[in-house]
Symmetry: C2
Subunit: 344 residues, 2 copies
DNA sequence: CGCAACTATGTATGCGCATACATAAAAACC
DNA sequence: GGTTTTTATGTATGCGCATACATAGTTGCG
């Protein structure tokens, strides 16, 4: 018995701040279900009752317990989002439209960083699944076997983003990193650059872009080009890697493809510091089309990926799946565009 | 009766993918509680039983339902984080250490963007409280009255960050925006700048910084200085605002204080485009000490705020409160530092 | 050997809500 | 005016787990 052995009537002391629908109902003179209905579908409740319930809610400061609601209804109204890093604007800028699209439909975001390690991702996925999200967003398409198993077992909609695969766990919204690298090589050829080099960050996708760039460049020009790898894509790393190419790799000009705009900005700064003219003596191509690409001097030629669309489309695909629809395609390639500015 | 009227034995069809502790226990030959104990405190279960349970979990792919656990234990192991925008590196870089600190203690982050509108924040706070977080992080100290009421009513630890107040809802970890603005004015005086101007983003905290800068500048130099406001702190806005100052506000040199490093970068770019020498003809001071401040040319003089410490300290303060400790101080000022580089 | 203390497990219960089903009263219909 | 339909509400139930309490079996100790 929760209430009945509390003769004082108010039944309040049992837990300091636990206003429930039961308590609201008692004040409004109705039962718990009626309160529940008033909140989920006011048309099912008479206007007078509605008013009394509203007053009771205001008086008590009642906030419904979504945990209990989720437990019984099997709908948590939460969507998990797993990104490698929230401080990386690339991921954050996909997350923002994703999140806002879902918020407008009443969903909340359970966010975690996974780093770039598949095992860490698996642990995070497990923690998230224990919260019973209604859907889940993953960054990338390479996951631990256990991750795939858990996600399939959970039988919830899953969207993998920021990459392409023929075999999605469920849905995939992204683009081909290899194709973007090749596009830069093809641009280099068309623009007449016969020498080249690459600067990559250490993560697998960056290396895939630069690897594809280098091998396509070789196919088209017949010559091998140096690719150097920084552990992390910072401006400082971009400067250091250009120095490395020039001072120790025998690179002496041509087109430098970078795995991110930030690295490319470092290259521009180092070139300026050395008095190397861009694009005359050195051409630079970035990746990402962040704001800085347009504003640095010279403007940065780069690959634009529609991150906003990716976030939005991923959210819509999940919402459709949650609604039981079978989407026409499991895999959506949002593509990319090479934006030519002054740097190459 | 959940199981007993299912004569087929396995008792599985009732809900496609709902492996429960009950089901795991049936396979391992123990009861539901024993499974619960095995997971929460293995020392309470015999090694043989533990092994059987582990096998059963592996076979079924069981993932505990944290919603149910949270409902009964009244501990959700979730912490809410409310930030104005996740794409703003300022907030994201506080969030990252905050999140990682909490993750190491088993907490997950429920994240939402609030924008800069107090009413929107109130709605988000309500949605979060319905999920019964064990604590909550807010950005800023100005909230709707309803927000304060809800948070006090929820009786959970609350930390307000990225600002200072004498009257925190619960805890406050931040710094004084006004003091940072005054510090720039005092630096200007000491460095010998007698003329000045300000460029602010539209949000209240930015305006507070620039307002304090302008009034302190006036106190020290006796002259009024123009302050222009951009709705949003972008590079393009920084360029446009410098143009505005020069072309329409009669500003002709001296020190320009900007409410963010990004705006300051725009100023540097516009100055370069106009052939104005920095710092000789125009001195520039930013705010935030983002990576670009160190790498742009000339290096940007700016205010550094230890965002990493703020995130970490806020997390630790919340954890202490959750653990029932009474912290020595409710309000922690992490301060700021003026970093002098070449731009001023 | 007898009783206390401990170990390993089980039974009972309810967290707060949504859902299925039941019911009373009012409205609609021929 | 009686029957059907609709409206407004209530009763009963259980989601999956943690917690309090109960109960065998086991060990310790004088």
């Amino acid at each position: 018995m929760t209430q009945s052995d509390d003769p004082s009537g108010a039944g309040r002391k049992r837990n300091q701040r636990g206003v429930t629908m039961e308590a609201v109902g008692r004040i409004a003179g109705v039962s718990q279900v009626t309160v529940s209905r008033a909140l989920s579908d006011p048309s099912k409740v008479s206007p007078q009752t509605m008013a009394r319930i509203r007053d009771a809610i205001a008086v008590t400061g009642f906030v419904p317990n979504a945990l209990a609601g989720a437990l019984v209804s099997r709908k948590s109204m939460m969507v998990s989002a797993l990104v490698p890093s929230i401080t990386n604007i690339i991921y954050a800028s996909m997350l923002a439209p994703f999140s806002s699209e879902l918020k407008s439909r009443g969903y909340q975001i359970l966010l975690s960083e996974t780093g770039l390690d598949p095992d860490e991702e698996a642990a995070v996925v497990e923690a998230h699944l224990s919260r019973r999200p209604d859907a889940i967003w993953l960054t990338g398409v390479h996951h631990a076997a256990r991750t795939r198993r858990m996600l399939i077992g959970a039988s919830i909609p899953v969207v993998e983003t920021w990459d392409m695969t023929e075999t999605p766990i469920d849905l995939c919204v992204g683009f081909s990193h290899a194709a973007s690298g090749r596009a830069v090589a093809e641009f280099a050829r068309e623009a007449g650059y016969t020498k080249g080099a690459g600067i990559s960050a250490g993560d697998e996708r960056a290396q895939r872009r630069l690897g594809a760039f280098a091998s396509r460049f070789r196919e088209l020009s017949g010559c091998n080009i140096p690719v150097v790898t920084a552990s992390y894509g910072s401006i400082a790393a971009g400067r250091a890697m250009l120095a490395e190419l020039l001072d120790r790799r025998g690179f002496s000009g041509g087109l430098v493809a970078c795995s991110s705009d930030v690295l490319a900005q470092g290259v521009l700064i180092e070139a300026a510091a050395r008095g190397i003219a861009v694009p005359t003596d050195l051409a630079v191509v970035g990746f990402g089309d962040q704001e800085l690409a347009e504003t640095v001097e010279p403007g940065l030629t780069t690959i634009r990926v529609n991150r906003d669309a990716m976030g939005r489309i991923a959210a819509q695909a999940l919402l459709a799946r949650i609604g039981g629809e079978t989407p026409p395609r499991d895999v959506i390639d949002v593509g990319f565009t090479l934006i030519r500015r002054a740097s190459a």
